[in-house]
Symmetry: C2
């Protein structure tokens, strides 16, 4: 697969051209609006989009750049925000009919940090209800309208894939950033848990919820991370040899041929380019991680949803009612067991990961599935979300149906910039320069 022609002008990234001063912020926003007018009707990525407002904000950033220079490397960059993340200037409806037209009184902290750095708010990306369970957004996979874009950050993935936004914030509790990135064919990143502030987010399962983002390339993922204080971006040195672990996870039997082949292809290209690639031995206990993540996610979701449920069932999806009333029979003892089981494995993974630039694994089981079958599985994400590890998915490969299939790099906790540098290296091998 070649670089997505939907990105930017010609085949170049919109952000790269903005950073080089080849386009103004206003022109960048105009480009996004043109893409929106072209694709939104079919893709339905946005829960709210205000072209005039975004243009005004972009013009202000352009004037400022002229007068005082850019605030930072992302000055003037338009971005979309998943609709469970508060914004003042656009409604935040949390994917819920109950919150139709809701206006937050302050931007979420992550949105504030990006706007403080000069980024321009473009629109709100649609999401599964409460980024958890319930109503699915109308968003279609940009590559095939009958397929899911992946959940829950559906709109964020579709907006970036169509070039309607060069970057979009999402959140991941199971696999809600990596999966839609893979299904939509874009670069996506979930940082180390706890490193991006959570004020102004709808928290669904607070011990798992992590702000992540999608972007037109890995460098923009990294520059966004830099702006959100994850560390300093250093482009990978040409000629440096990475040490990569090939980690199939205990869930490899669930990987379809599309993902198996994508991982093998990535491993082969890495090895052929002189990088060290070696199989990682399984870590005992890892086979429980996805189940533990499930117990925690649903156990905490019940707590988060209890006040919604207490306000009456009207405007609440039946799956949410069931989450509160039945909750899969999850007990406090099961939750404590899950927390502690994961707690023991975190340092074990960290220690093993310390020897590598990243571990290579599947991003998803396979290509995007038909929408009637759901949003796809977070099989290769749950464990890493539970372990709090930084994860980047790199696009460039496709499956038998011609749809995108990402491959994932996972790093040690807090090694966010290191795993992104490795991701940028892999991107060159899969997408080209």
């Amino acid at each position: 697969m070649k670089r997505n022609p939907d990105f930017g002008f010609q085949s170049q990234g919109l952000w790269a051209r903005l950073a080089r001063g080849e386009v103004s912020s206003e022109q960048a926003v105009e480009h996004c609006i043109a893409r929106y007018e072209d694709r939104e009707q079919d893709v339905q990525a946005f829960a709210a989009f205000d072209a005039e407002r975004a243009l005004g904000e972009a013009r202000a950033r352009d004037r400022e750049r002229e007068l005082r220079g850019p605030r930072g490397p992302l000055h003037g960059l338009p971005f979309a925000v998943k609709d469970v993340i508060d914004t003042v200037d656009l409604p935040t409806q949390r994917g819920s009919p109950r919150y139709e037209g809701r206006r937050a009184e302050q931007d979420a902290a992550c949105v504030r940090l990006l706007r403080q750095a000069g980024c321009v708010l473009l629109g709100k990306a649609d999401t599964v209800e409460f980024a958890g369970i319930g109503r699915d957004p109308p968003t279609a996979n940009p590559h095939d309208p009958k397929r899911t874009p992946g959940g829950s950050s559906a709109g964020s993935g579709a907006a970036v894939a169509t070039g309607m936004a060069p970057m979009a914030l999402g959140t991941q509790t199971g696999g809600s950033v990596i999966r839609p990135s893979s299904f939509c064919g874009v670069a996506g990143f979930k940082p180390t848990y706890g490193r991006v502030p959570v004020q102004g987010l709808w928290l669904h399962a607070p011990s798992l919820d992590t702000v992540g983002w999608m972007a037109e390339d890995v460098e923009l993922l990294a520059r966004t991370g830099e702006t959100l204080n994850l560390g300093e971006w250093q482009a990978p040195e040409a000629g440096r040899s990475l040490r990569i672990g090939l980690y199939r996870t205990p869930y490899w039997p669930d990987a379809e041929p599309a993902s198996r082949s994508a991982v093998e292809t990535a491993a082969d290209r890495l090895a052929a380019s002189g990088h060290g690639v070696e199989e990682v031995e399984e870590i005992p206990g890892a086979e429980n991680l996805n189940e533990w993540q499930d117990v925690i996610m649903h156990g905490e979701a019940r707590i988060s949803l209890m006040a919604e449920y207490g306000a009456g069932k009207q405007g609440l999806h039946e799956d949410i009612v069931e989450e509160v009333e039945v909750n899969r029979g999850i007990t406090p003892r099961a939750m404590a067991g899950a927390y502690d089981g994961i707690g023991v494995l975190r340092p074990a993974f960290d220690q093993r990961l310390a020897d590598y630039d990243a571990w290579l694994t599947a991003s998803v089981p396979g290509e995007a599935i038909p929408r009637r079958d759901g949003n796809g599985e977070a099989t290769f994400n749950r464990l890493f979300t539970a372990l709090q590890l930084p994860c980047v998915t790199v696009p460039g490969l496709t499956g038998p149906a011609g749809l995108p299939v990402g491959v994932q790099f996972v790093g040690a906790r807090f090694a966010d910039m290191r795993v992104l540098a490795a991701g940028a290296m892999l991107e060159k091998l899969l997408v080209g320069d």
Copy 2:
């Protein structure tokens, strides 16, 4: 010390009389308003108080009770809310000049749950800036205006101690519920981490922040917990013998004579009443817990405060600026070490605690300190907050200056109702019926 005469009518709890139908919700609120008019000028517990609004809400609850019966055991109960917890009907200023007059667009989930159960919002209790660091509230200790009421839930403790509110929500990140409860001489409870929803809270150090509450007696602590879905309250069986561990913690050398004597007195009375009290052997590694909690608290606070800092220094306390700029030199590696160190000890404490109804320990180093010296230390709280354990402080004893000194019961994770039942038993021994 006898039961605080400020509570309710005569020596009886306001809530008990409300629950028995001896007073209406309107009368209960009128009582709180009378106490407010009497004490607020000296104590300054509230950041916002709207008597007329509360009376209107109380009358609505009274009418509802007449028509359809009570919604639950707390129907009509007036309560105060720490000012880092969002409310629609009253401003939420987060203890920060920057948020003067700020109005949230939705009640926090914990406030929604209480109001859904028929509780009546009375006012907003003042707090340390962002419940963390910076501006101290003007709140005085109700027993001695030159002393601190304890932080950061200063107003919550003082409001309950003066009878201005029979119950008040607070939050604990280090010792911000247990300490002010002890200094003010009221019952206070910090539940198991993660059991009370956090939507609508200012999150300062999200992996530690826990909603807790103070109340005029332990049963009301438990009934509030029941309303917040912590489990079913069962009054302690008369004659049942508790098994209590006497756990001095690695920080016992920091306990002043006032607290040592309070713990010994409690242990003696428990033993004299036929309860089993035995010294708990120290758990290896526990001596690091307070330092680890400190690393996590400040490391996460920096992340939470970054967007505030990015908005400019105006209206931000210099301690907050320092927290962001210097942050005590805390590194990601130190944070990972702290998370993992605590992660190993959580199941170890749980396992040992499973054999007991509760562990008895100090709530605080001693009596409330002079305000010029700060808000007091969270020495006997940090470790338990980090371990996510439910903690109840029981009043009734005093120190050499005649000021209240609480003693603390700590339970296993998720054993919230069990530790509260033990607390109710201890309350009978220290306060009387």
